[in-house]
Amino acid sequence: METAKIVSLLIQASYFAAAVLLILGIKRMASPVTARSGIQWAGIGVLIAVIATFFHTEVPGHVLIENAVLIFIAIAASTAIAWIWGKKVAMTDMPQMVALYNGMGGGSAAAIGASALLGAATQSHFESHLTTTQTLLAVIGALIGSISMTGSIIAWAKLDGRMDKTFRFGGQKLVNGACFLAALLIGLYSVWHLQTQWIILFFALALLFGVLMTLPIGGADMPVVISLYNAFTGLAVGFEGYVQGNIALIIAGTVVGAAGTLLTRLMAKAMNRSIANVLFSNFGGGGASAQEIKGSQKPIEADDAASLLYMADNVIIVPGYGMAVAQAQHKIWELSKNLIARGKSVKFAIHPVAGRMPGHMNVLLAEAGVPYDLIADMDDINPEFPNCDVAIVIGANDVVNPAAKTDKSSPIYGMPILDVANAKQTIVIKRGKGTGFAGIENELFYQDNTRMLYADGQDAANKLIAGLKAVDGGGGH
C-alpha cells in the first residue's frame, strides 16, 4: 500500500518535471542560440513522462499486463516508423511532415476523448461518472482533435502533391456549415445524453468536417492552416488532459494552443490575410484570375545573363520555393560566392512566407551554408532594390508580383511583396511559363527590364558560373 503511494507520488513528480521542461524547451526554441537545446529539453520532458506512465496502475481491481504490452507495441512500431521517416524526409518536405505529425497528435487526443465518452456511455468503464464539465471538455477536445487530424491529413496530401490543389462544389460553404453545426449540436446533446450511436455519429461528422474544411483551401494558404491545426491539437490535448485530470497535458496543450494561435496570426499577418479570410474565402486556387497582361516575356541566354551579372555591382537574389524544389540552393550559393569573389555585393532577400512556411527558406539556405549576414528580411531589403543592378529571381513568383500593389482585382492584392520590380534589371530563372502557386500571372515577368532565363535552377546556376568564368578567364578579379 505504501509503495503504491510512493509510486503515485513519483509519477506526479515526473509529470511536473515534464511540464517544466516542456515550457522551458519552447522558451529556448524561441532564440536561435538556445534553440537546439530547447528541443532536447522538451524531448527529455516527454521521455520522463512516458516512462513514468508505464508505472501508472491506478486501475481498481485489475492491472492489465495485456494493455501494457499493447502500449509497448504501439509505441515501438509508431516511433520506429515516424523516426525513420522523419530522418529521411527532405528539408523541402518539412511542412507537410509537420502537418502529418500534428494530425497524429490531434487523432490521439480525439481517441482519448472517444475512449472516455464511449466508456461513460456504456457504463462498463470504472470512470463512468465523468462530471458534466469533464464530458463537455471531452466532447470539445474530441471535436477539435478530430478536425485537426483529418484536416492535417488533407493539408499533408495537398502539400505532398498527392491531391489536387483545390476541390470545390456549389453550396460548399452551406454543406460545411451544416456539417460543423450538426457535429457541434450532436456533441453537445451527448454531454447530457451519452449514447453510443450518437457519439459515433458525432465523431464521424467531426472527422468529415476536417476534410471538408480543408479541401477548398489553396496550397498558398496551407502554412497558416497547418499552424492553426497545430494550435487546435494543442487545445484538444489540453481539454482531454482535463478529462483525465492530468495537469501536464493541460499545461503543455494549452501553452501550445496559445503559442500556436499567436504564430498563426503572425503568419497570416505576413501574408496580409486574416485567419477567417484564409479559412472561408477560398483563396489560392486560381479561380477568378486577374486581368490579362499585355506584352511578352523576353527570354535570355545564360551567357548573356552572366555578362549582366559580371557588370553589376549590387546583386540581390530572391529565392522562392521553386529553387528548393530544384535543389538549387547549393549551386546558387556557389554562384553567389563566385560573385562575391569578383567584388560584388550579394544579398539574399527573403519574403516572410518564402518557402512553404515563414522561416522555411531560412532553413533551406542555412542547409546550403549561406551565412546569416547575407540574408535580409523584406522590410530591410525593399529600400535597396532601386540601387540593385541585377536582381535574380529564382523559383519565386507570387511574392514578387507587383499586382499585389497595383491590381485591386488580384486575389493577392494587399499582400506585402519584395519590390523586385524596382531593380534596374531583373533575371528570372524559371523552368517554364507557368503561373505561381496562387495561379496568378506575374506582371514582373513582362516588364521591359526583365529577362527570363528558362532553365532548371541547378542547371541555370551552373551555366551562370561557367559564363562568369568565361568572361574573365576564371580568375577572381
Binding site: K27, P32, N67, S78, P95, M104, G241, I251, T254
Partner: protein, 103 residues
C-alpha cells in the same frame, strides 16, 4: 480531480505563458518553432497510454491502441524533424565557418 475554477486558472496561466514565451520570436525561427510546439503536444502520448492502460473492453483497447500509436508518431516524428532543422541553425552563429559548408 481538478476543481473547475482551479482548472480555469490553470488554462488561463498556461495560455498567457504560451503567448508570452513566443511573442518575440524572429521570423527565421517560425518554422522550427511550429515544429517544436508540434512536438510539445506530443505529450498527448501520455494521456493515450493511460486511456489504453485503463481499457477494459476490446473496443477500448482498439481505440487506445490507435491513440497511443498516433501519439507516439506525433512525439517521435515531431522530435526528429525539429532536431534536424535546429541542428542546421547552429551554423548561423559562425557565419565565416558556414561559408565553407556551401561547397
Amino acid at each position: 480531480m481538478i476543481d473547475g475554477f482551479l482548472a480555469l486558472y490553470l488554462f488561463m496561466l498556461a495560455a498567457f505563458t504560451g503567448h508570452e514565451i513566443i511573442s518575440r520570436v524572429p521570423v527565421i525561427l517560425h518554422t522550427p518553432l511550429m515544429s517544436g510546439s508540434n512536438f510539445v503536444h506530443g505529450i498527448v502520448l501520455v494521456g493515450a497510454m493511460i486511456a489504453l492502460g485503463e481499457a477494459t473492453t476490446w473496443w477500448q483497447q482498439v481505440i487506445g491502441f490507435v491513440g497511443v500509436f498516433l501519439g507516439a508518431g506525433n512525439a517521435a516524428g515531431g522530435y526528429v524533424v525539429t532536431e534536424r532543422m535546429l541542428e542546421m541553425f547552429k551554423s548561423s552563429k559562425k557565419p565565416a565557418a558556414a561559408g565553407e559548408g556551401g561547397k
